[in-house]
């Protein structure tokens, strides 16, 4: 199946860290590692996106008060 790809740049130091990390695993490439990680992150974000916890909401309000958007 054809897939479209778009090049993305990351810092070289980070690339080397990932290369080192995956060298001892069965992940075939830095690109695969990053793609898998990002898909997981996006999936987590979507599943958490439904609501804020009461703790999160308090943090939002605190920051809004500091910015003058709430009393």
């Amino acid at each position: 199946m054809d897939k479209d790809y778009t090049p993305v740049e990351i810092p070289t130091d980070l690339y080397k860290q990932i290369e080192e990390k995956i060298s001892h695993s069965d992940v075939s490439s830095v690109a695969d590692f990053i793609t898998t990680l990002l898909k997981e992150k996006l999936s987590d974000d979507q599943s958490e996106g439904g609501s804020l916890s009461s703790n999160d909401e308090e943090k939002v309000k605190e920051r809004l008060k500091a910015l003058g958007y709430m009393d």
């Binding site: 974000d45 979507q46 958490e48 996106g49 439904g50 609501s51 804020l52 999160d56 943090k59 939002v60 309000k61 920051r63 809004l64 500091a66 910015l67 003058g68 958007y69 709430m70 009393d71």
Partner: protein, 193 residues
């Protein structure tokens, strides 16, 4: 020049995501809006003004149900993202702004005069807030939404502002005026080049 007097028009987004710039753009286009710069006048964080009502503290009034949206039909007002949670059923058209989260956090810290030692927590919370509010408004049957991106408006003003102009459903607003409003010099806390 007028909008639909049966509709509430809102500019929104997480705080420091470009909501004031959107209001400026609309104002430059001759779009009807309501704001009061006397309670929170322009400052170093928003040199051209905040374009807010209630000194920016509209969210408290929405939570208390003491803000009369009815009085503001047919004109744009600014309600930042968290406030959209408290909108009663009605008829709304919303322009919702997003911006690179690191730029948002940098701008928040500067405005609040803080150095956020829990920045990763703050980042997570405001990403969640943005996601939650977008899900909410995109799924409300009584809302028409235009999502815009602050970074894109500055990178490619013509395309973004044409979309905003089209969303207003009227050719009478001043597109050139809106375009002339975008000022790169005001693009502070830039992270995306």
């Amino acid at each position: 020049m007028s909008l639909n007097n049966n509709t509430n028009y809102i500019v929104s987004g997480v705080e420091r995501s470009g909501t004031s710039m959107l209001m400026q753009i609309l104002h430059a286009g001759g779009v009807p809006m309501a704001f009061d710069n006397s309670t929170r006048p322009p400052d170093e964080n928003n040199p051209r003004g905040y374009f807010e009502l209630e000194g920016g503290k509209i969210i408290n009034k929405l939570m208390e149900e003491t803000f009369s949206l009815e009085d503001f039909k047919g004109q744009f007002i600014k309600i930042t993202a968290y406030g959209l949670k408290f909108l009663s059923p009605g008829q709304y058209r919303v322009i919702y702004s997003e911006r690179d989260i690191e730029e948002i956090l940098d701008s928040m810290e500067k405005m609040a005069h803080i150095e956020d030692t829990y920045r990763s927590d703050t980042r997570e919370v405001f990403i969640k807030l943005n996601t939650m509010i977008k899900d909410l408004i995109l799924n409300r049957d009584d809302m028409d939404i235009l999502l815009v991106n602050y970074n894109q408006i500055l990178k490619n003003p013509k395309d973004s502002i044409q979309k905003i102009h089209d969303f207003l459903n009227s050719a009478e607003f001043d597109l050139e005026g809106m375009l002339s409003c975008v000022d790169q010099k005001l693009y502070r806390k830039r992270r995306i080049l």
